[in-house]
Symmetry: D2
Subunit: 337 residues, 4 copies
């Protein structure tokens, strides 16, 4: 930790800062520069007790040297974490595509798309039973009934199933019906939800908040890891910027940056990133090339009838075609698709 004092801070004030540091069992090293005094702190300054120091009037700026996360960091665990969902390995040699409709709308809809996905080789079906919607007047999902349909689909097709969880009260019940949970972008800093998901024994896809920094994103994963659930997959899904040409701006640099900073698998959701069907192929290719471990893509048996996200959902035939086009890039990157 590096503490920069304001210009003209008195010696007495500087002494008071150093006393505070020593009180916490750490060692202050004062550096008297030409215009300012800087105090370096030796020891693990991630202690909360130092938080109050920020309030001292004589301090201009405090810079942390250590990263705020531990369990999620590559320094803590140098080798890649491979998350197992059934017999599927995410973060290993295989490139994994999780696909399906935005939400479960009916038995026939979900069964139709599941059979199609099974046929083209997809192993994990995504579909939301609970839907976060900007408007209280929009379709809010089928709820428990949707979860039951997912389980039914799983039994009939052998597909693994994944769904979003939004409410702390739904975590346990959802975990009984599906193979993997998802935390959506809007809930990335819903800390109570993170804690609850940290307590169940099932893999979780954590989506990056639209305005979350890389560091906050990893800290959200740290919440889950710190409660005991080690099977976290990070999913970049676009951030909010000034650009209005797309729904969100895919932050492709996040992929190699997350892979380097953490040991967790990293996926990309090109559907929400762009909000446009026509961008899914190029963004999927770019994600593979940037080093992602998988993709999450929206496919709907009939996007024109979709109750949500129709404009970004692929038609089944489009999805099959894209799948074929992604294979050569996966191969070049040394991944199996």
């Amino acid at each position: 930790m590096i503490i920069v004092l304001k210009p003209k801070t008195s010696k007495k004030e500087a002494e008071r800062v150093m006393a505070k540091i020593r009180e916490n069992g750490l060692e202050p090293v004062p550096l008297f520069g030409i215009e300012r005094t800087v105090i370096a702190v030796i020891g693990d300054s991630r202690t909360e007790a130092l938080d109050g120091m920020k309030a001292m009037e004589c301090i201009e700026k405090i810079t942390s040297i250590l990263k705020p996360y531990k369990l999620a960091s590559r320094e803590y665990k140098p080798d890649n974490t491979i998350v197992k969902v059934g017999d599927v390995e995410i973060g290993g040699k295989d490139f994994v595509i999780v696909a399906g409709p935005c939400s479960i709308e009916s038995e026939s809809q979900i069964m139709e798309i599941a059979l199609f996905l099974k046929k083209v080789g997809i192993k994990i079906l995504r579909a939301s039973a609970f839907k976060p919607r900007t408007s209280p007047y929009s379709f809010q999902g089928m709820g428990l009934k949707g979860l039951k349909l997912l389980k039914q689909v799983k039994e009939r097709t052998g597909l693994l199933v994944e769904t979003e969880v939004m409410d702390v009260r739904d975590v346990k019940i959802s975990a009984e019906y599906v193979d993997m949970l998802r935390i959506g972008a809007r809930n990335m800093q819903n800390f109570d939800l993170l804690k609850e998901v940290g307590k169940v024994n099932i893999p979780v896809i954590l989506k990056r908040g639209m305005n979350a920094t890389i560091s906050e994103f990893i800290m959200a994963a740290e919440y889950i890891l710190s409660r005991g659930n080690k099977d976290v997959i990070l999913c970049e899904r676009g951030i909010r910027t000034f650009e209005t040409a797309y729904r969100n701006t895919l932050d492709i640099s996040a992929v190699p940056t997350l892979k380097k900073a953490t040991h967790l698998p990293v996926m990309v959701d090109p559907s929400h990133s762009s909000g446009k069907r026509g961008l899914i192929l190029p963004l999927s290719r770019a994600s593979i090339a940037a080093g992602a471990d998988g993709l999450m893509i929206e496919v709907h048996p009939n996007p024109e009838q979709a109750l949500s996200d129709g404009e970004q959902s692929l038609y089944p035939e489009q999805f099959s075609k894209i799948l074929e086009e992604l294979k050569p890039i996966c191969k070049v990157m040394g991944r199996n698709l």
Copy 2:
């Protein structure tokens, strides 16, 4: 609703779009322009059934004419809503300052600051029992014990009390202990929480998400209103931009914009907006001048010992001084402080 078709869309395709509109009981008016065909939709196109239309390949863009919110809009209710918290009126002639520490840390801390605030004329005390923290290793709040302390403070001092609620399971119990609930920025789109808060009979301060547009902010209020709770106060608290000189960027234009678009009271939180003690006076003055109905300010008996937000909390003497400096501006704006 205005639908712009892609260039070279066939007549047949355009016909299919119009058929869809008619199916929903609305009237399509086609306009054949020089480069593109546009279809205007007459009738209330806020129906969900039209959502699927966005998926049609021949459509380039859909623009809504109607605003997505109803209950929150000034067109629906032209006169100002005045929210009553005990005998305090927010949104009326009085300018209301809600003040207190970031979080409840101990009985002595909360009682000390409450007595001080009472003395300087503040009527509503803010203090969090549950704390949203970026790090799982930071102080997470005193929980139920904190709620009990708040009630105790209320009984002893006569102050009204306000606290943040983060978890749907805490809404009812919190409502029993305090006079007003707060939904924090990170939970502005925690829709289950909005719904739950919509069901209790107690005023709510809804803070704007760091990356929420004005329209999404009003839609979050609409969630609460649509569940029956009419006492919603909007609170601007800074948005996230590229600027790193302050913690967030106070969006001062939001104040007059929200006042015009909705009938709800609008407050500003200069503490979180800036994250810097030195900016609180100028930002408070600016907020009053821009037409805000109140302020939420962090004050701590001893910021250097605060367990959270110390650097943006005012010392009691600083707060008293600022309070005096705000009075003349309130007067000019025709508000009582």
Copy 3:
């Protein structure tokens, strides 16, 4: 300057970094922390020679302690700079409003508005002869003819005149016709233009770039100051964010922040900040309350016929009314209007 080395950097590598620092006549102080080594640099590390160091593979991060600007800083010159334009003082006790149309369109247009502004007490007329337009097909300004009209207006009415300069080749000639130059937001980092304006002997209003940080903004002023022109006025005019409800987002916190960091006068342009006539009154009030030294406002004799920015230009009668409404706030803030 604080240099953080990557974890596991060898002693030899650290030694190489320190050697580089010593080569530049500065003193390295190594601090061996628990996870990382940090090297503090004592001396004025603003030297360019250290730039190359950033390229060393063993360095994780370099943090500057000193601010990059000197001449513009309050540490360099503690008292406020008062810029004199004719007999008008900007940055002193008077609150100064510069007003006028976006661009000069004709003799009658500019004379009509000038006479009106004179009548209501305005002393400096703004009007662009050269216009930065997003589209090459839009009106580009009257050029030299416009400058001549400005001079004519000045002679007939006694108003001081101000205009934007975009092209380095126009700086000298413009300076002969007007009393104050303006550098627009899009040219804030047009460094050749800054240098050219730094060489003339006439006050300059420097507008903040739409995506410029506070630090970059001050550095742009430093360019002008470092060439010899000391009469620089900073003008906040809104930054670009994700919010689309207004043309730009007025960064009101910039006003007190700039006033504290520099000694230069600070103005606000509520017209470009919002792009909406209806927001000009509240944003003007907020700017005064936040401590601004002046405003720049667009007024047009007939906004409906304006060749640019009609939607944000005030009608003369609206302007007179706003002017009256600003006086009480100026008074409260101790400023004369």
Copy 4:
């Protein structure tokens, strides 16, 4: 053009809007909706005369249907533009990498890197003689002397050479020394510079401004095209967002979006996008996979001695290695490297 009137607009006011439209030779089609009246405009409403209409008080919003650019659009010219620089074709089957140091620093530096690049198969050398620097105290480039060195390098090595132009007065002279000009991000809306570059007969790489929308970016190209220079190459180089983990955020979605909206070649600059050497390989791969026509990469014979951008410049051996790693992806995408 679609004009939405404010609620409760009188019939007379609506009539006045329609009269204005007719005055301009266009046809208004009024649509009386349930809450608002909308007026559609038939005809080419890109006329400036309609600009003033935005100022009418009864108008709530104006939406353009037509895109603001013509010459740059794919609708205007459906087939790809191939820009020829010497015998190199950009935008065709070949994937083109422009490489070199940030700036020309000395004869030996530029010659050394040129010989290296020649050896590894690069055909176009980038190097700036004029440098846009945030600080007036930083190295500003070698100027004319640098241009002469570039020409010398070209003669000795046979490499084509490219350089940035910042000042309108340097355009003609620069065009005499090099094979391709570059307009940097900070000058993307330096309209006088765009016009000047539009008048010379030499290819131009136009870099996207850090806060420029896709539409503004294409409009900047339109400026150049409209003056007669048809050889424009668009270059995405990262936008400014809230994320501070990298220098800028590469907007990978811009690549397919620009390729679809325009017929111009699209390149990516992974060096400025990230500001980090370690991200250049993954971002280069992603750019190729997203459909880019080329890359611009910074390489320096000795980054540690670089006078600018050392931390993002590759060492020659790193560059050779990356070059090899890009070939398989180019092949998969059907491009020759």
